[in-house]
């Protein structure tokens, strides 16, 4: 099983391979590319939430000195793209559907002229009624955003309710007998919860430099989590074969899901093709907050039946996720549906999940993907149940939590289930119920589950003449450290030092396909492909050594960059001598490869309708306990301490693991307390870090961090991901602690001082 002690590289402190470049200013990001004759692009955006475009006049802009090209929908192929619903073009065509939608783009010799040219473009709009609330948008008679919705291409099995009205994606999960489940219940709890949009707030804005190279190929330098999908989307939007497009991603200044998108690439590419000059398109900070993508806002309605002893019996969940005007990733609500029963065994379940259009900026992927919303509902309600039934919140969770061999409500049988262990360890660390907490502090708990890994990927491992190795993977490092982890995995498998492995990531010319890094599939799934490719290379290396030693492969031992004879350990050959001089006596150069898809089993259609994926590879679990202080006068919440226990399989890189988990807690803290994109008639009211602020160093709690290590049979060396589950527990844990501290149950995020003060006022009135 877990052989951590036997590993030479896995689980050992390994400095990030890009660390020197990143501390010296040498790491090149997309915004750092300056090319001769480079043009600067700017985008004209809709000032209205919903309108017909009557006329666009670009003549004056085109005549401005220094302007090289102006494009609108009329100048580009009429093609649409999206992950599951192909609903969005490069520019608004005929209609605009949100404030911030791209209407036209300019390329000019400098940024100033490009901005001046935007002001010269005249657009005549005929306003249309708009809808901003997802529950309003699904009522009969609501303004319709996409009149031809039914004709759009989709890549999922449509239910009756999908692609009708303003609903794009829709899914239903039904397990057990819901009516019977509620009939057996002693108590029924029914609650509604609401969450806002949260911006991913990566520090580096979306940016692309596009050019046509000397062979006439389109070259893209960008910041992305999915270079190979970018390449495919550019191909379909521009009508260029995939092989004529090269995407060369730069260092990514944070992604968190937000860069699992294709936003700046098509526009920059179209302008480069038009002008035959390099074109840079970088989002302004304000564009990030109006025209990129956010976590989906939404409403969750949760009805749960419970026995007197706290046993969960039945659950009826409705998820209404607001995807904005287009649905680049409506499957957020599918992941939300999977996580909506929490990390619990509930025999009778129904989930209805809707992704709904409104005239607002787009919802997209962001760490936690769909689960921070539904887990806020589930874990808030669990505490309400515990309070009503007078059961300790952790005991209630332990009583109902999933264990090895259980199935989720989706029918998927689970393996590597460690939620109970995370609950027990977090309880012990925090001193829960032991009266150790200072008088002014209160504890709150939440646990959660998230899908980990899956989908298509591949890896290539080449052994070089000097005994080093070159790994190629299409899977991106967005800063989480995948480049380093991939090197560790290959080094361990090949029996060489981590510094002797160089990892090439992303460049579509030199790396094989990966679908994109999301859903905890970097270390787990792309890492598995690299491990298998390294195993392939290792097998060939063993054969080479056996040939050199005139023995059989089973008599060869590899390690420390050397091959030796098992029967005579003094007989040693360095890899460089085995591979040197290009003299491959046994066959040709050694290239290991692997191509896998860890998402192969379909869900049972009797349980799941409208599934957006096949079954995920595995699931990850975590428990977080927060220690908070609430100022009863101002309602201000501080979180001085947090206990975080994660189930992460085998730890590959301890510093990377710790960093990713604490970073996830920070994002969860922001979601709980500060961050929420505010709208007024579709207009973002707080489009900056100043007004919609992520936590700073002083906001962060002291973190007491631990893991429950387990060997996940589907991950490389037994590893799992932690990128998502680290985000999903903070908001409900804090809401639960706030109720314990003040009696106020806050059912919407963020948990602002105003909501607490108002709640305290309400309680005082009720008592009076």
């Amino acid at each position: 099983m877990n052989k951590l002690n036997e590993y030479a590289v896995i689980g050992k402190k390994t400095t990030k391979t890009d660390a020197v470049a990143k501390v010296t200013g040498g790491a090149r990001f997309a915004t750092d590319i300056y090319l001769p004759n480079m043009l600067w692009a700017k985008v004209l955006r809709s000032p209205v939430p919903h309108a017909r475009i009557l006329r666009i006049d670009t003549e004056k802009a085109k005549k401005l000195d220094g302007v090289k090209a102006v494009l609108t929908a009329a100048d580009v192929p009429e093609a649409r793209y999206g992950a599951l619903v192909l609903d969005m073009g490069m520019f608004a065509r005929g209609k605009v559907r949100y404030i911030g939608e791209a209407v036209a783009a300019v390329a000019a010799v400098n940024e100033e002229i490009a901005l001046a040219a935007l002001k010269l473009i005249e657009v005549a709009y005929e306003p249309l009624p708009a809808v901003f609330d997802p529950l309003e948008a699904i009522k009969p008679g609501a303004p319709i955003l996409h009149e031809d919705l039914k004709s759009y291409k989709t890549l999922f099995e449509r239910t009756d309710k999908a692609m009708t009205g303003n609903v794009n994606y829709q899914a239903e999960i039904t397990s057990g007998d819901l009516e019977a489940g509620f009939a057996q219940s002693d108590y029924i709890f029914e609650d509604s919860y609401e969450v806002p949009k949260q911006h991913p707030s990566y520090m580096e804005p979306n940016s692309t430099v596009a050019l046509v190279d000397s062979d006439g190929r389109l070259v893209i330098h960008n910041t992305t989590q999915r270079p190979h999908i970018n390449q495919a989307i550019l191909s379909s939007l521009l009508g260029i074969p995939i092989a004529k497009i090269r995407v060369v991603p730069c260092h990514v200044g944070g992604g968190f899901g937000g860069k699992n998108r294709t936003l700046t690439e098509p526009t920059a590419a179209a302008l480069a093709l038009k002008t035959r000059q390099p074109v840079r398109l970088t989002f302004s900070h304000e564009e990030e907050f109006t025209s990129a993508t956010t976590r989906h806002s939404g409403v969750m309605v949760m009805k749960t039946g419970v026995k007197k002893d706290g046993t969960l019996v039945a659950s009826d969940v409705k998820l209404y996720y607001d995807c904005g005007a287009y649905a680049p990733t409506p499957n957020a609500v599918w992941l939300g549906a999977i996580s909506s029963s929490g990390a619990y065994r509930i025999p009778h379940c129904r989930v209805e999940a809707y992704s709904i259009y409104t005239n607002k900026m787009m919802g997209g992927a962001f760490r936690g993907y769909g689960a921070p919303q539904s887990n806020f509902a589930r874990e808030s309600q669990m505490d309400r149940i515990a309070r009503e039934l007078k059961i300790d919140p952790i005991e209630l969770r332990l009583k109902n939590c999933l264990v090895e061999g259980d199935s989720l409500h989706t029918g998927q049988k689970l393996h590597s289930v460690k939620v109970k262990e995370t609950l027990l360890k977090a309880r012990e660390l925090s001193g829960w119920g032991k009266g150790r907490v200072p008088a002014n502090r209160t504890l709150g708990v939440a646990c959660g589950i998230f899908a980990c890994g899956g989908f298509a990927t591949s890896g290539i491992v080449r052994l070089n003449m000097d005994g080093t190795a070159t790994v190629a993977t299409g899977a991106m490092d967005m800063g989480q450290g995948l480049r380093t982890v991939m090197g560790q995995i290959a080094a361990e498998e090949l029996g060489m030092a981590a510094e002797d492995v160089t990892v090439i990531i992303g460049d579509t010319d030199s790396t094989p396909f990966d679908v994109g890094i999301f859903g905890d599939r970097g270390t787990h799934t792309a890492g598995m492909a690299v491990q298998m490719a390294a195993q392939d290379a290792r097998k060939q290396l063993v054969e080479q050594a056996a040939f050199a030693f005139k023995t059989t492969p089973n008599n060869i031992v590899l390690g420390g960059g050397k091959a030796r004879l098992a029967s005579d350990p003094d007989k040693v050959l360095d890899y460089k001598d085995l591979l040197g001089g290009g003299q491959y006596k046994k066959g040709g150069p050694i290239i290991g490869k692997a191509s896998i898809n860890l998402t192969e089993t379909a869900f049972d259609p009797a349980i799941v309708r409208g599934a957006a994926s096949r079954m995920f590879s595995t699931y990850t679990f975590a428990t977080h306990i927060v220690e908070i202080e609430v100022d009863p006068k101002t309602g201000v919440v501080r979180v001085p301490k947090t206990y975080a226990v994660h189930d992460c399989g085998t730890v590959v890189n301890p510093d990377g693991l710790r960093g990713q988990i604490i970073g996830g807690l920070a994002t969860g803290l922001g979601y709980a307390l500060y961050e929420g994109v505010a709208f007024e008639n579709g207009q973002v009211q707080n489009p900056s870090f100043l007004e919609c602020r992520p936590p700073t160093a002083v906001d962060m709690p002291e973190i007491v961090f631990d893991t429950v290590e387990e060997f996940d049979e589907k991950g490389p060396f037994g590893a799992k991901g932690v990128g998502n589950v680290s985000v999903i527990n903070m908001a409900p844990a804090i809401a639960n602690a706030v109720e314990t501290a003040t009696g106020v149950r806050v059912t919407s995020l963020p948990i602002t001082p105003g909501k607490i003060v108002q709640g305290l006022g309400q309680l005082a009135k009720e008592e009076a």
Binding site: T15, K16, D18, A19, V20, A21, K22, V23, T24, G25, G26, A27, R28, F29, T31, D32, Y34, P200, S201, Y202, M203, E204, P205, H251, V252, G253, G254, G255, F256, S284, H285, M478, G479, Q480, G481, D655, G656, R658, G659, Q660, I662, G663, G664, L665, A666, T667, S688, F689, L690, R693, P694, T696, A697, V698, M700, I703
Partner: protein, 158 residues
């Protein structure tokens, strides 16, 4: 548009250049000198990715004009240390989990440099306070705080 000749020393190298009056220091460093280690993030002085030192004191270069650096000495991350001659802050950030994506890192290094020059042995609380003008979305700050603590120890031979 009015232009001004400025005399500015950047990472020890003297420059006498004509810049437009409204040129931001960040743009001067990046677009004119191609010192792209200094990042542009929020453009409004909130994120701190563009932090540099002017005469040893940290400023946000997106809130300063190039002409304000006239007659002064600017240090960017490129000037902090290179190759085998890295500053203790740089090696500490590498060793203590002080960075992930690296986009905020140059700004944090400059802010930490300023902090340690004023307070060579800061407490954890003082480090957090001293770095609160810079944002990081990846690390949750713990690795950064540990790095600064570690660098302070290295620099004072403890």
């Amino acid at each position: 548009m009015s232009k001004h000749v400025i005399n500015v020393t950047v990472n020890g190298e003297a420059h006498a250049v004509e810049v437009p009056a409204k040129r931001l220091l960040a743009d001067f460093l990046r677009d004119d000198l191609l010192l792209t280690g200094t990042k542009r993030g929020c453009e409004t002085g909130t994120c701190g990715a563009c932090s540099v030192l002017i005469d040893g004191e940290v400023v946000k270069s997106c809130l300063n004009l190039a002409v304000q650096a006239d007659g002064r000495s600017v240090t960017t991350v490129e000037g902090l240390g290179q190759g085998t001659n890295l500053h203790p802050l740089q090696t500490s950030f590498m060793e203590q989990g002080g960075l992930q994506c690296g986009y905020c890192t140059p700004g944090f290094l400059m802010a930490a440099h300023d902090l340690l020059s004023r307070n060579p042995s800061p407490s954890e609380e003082e480090i957090r306070e001293g770095l609160s003008g810079n944002l990081c979305r990846c690390t949750g700050y713990q690795g950064i705080v540990d790095s600064v603590k570690n660098a302070a120890e290295k620099m004072h031979g403890r």
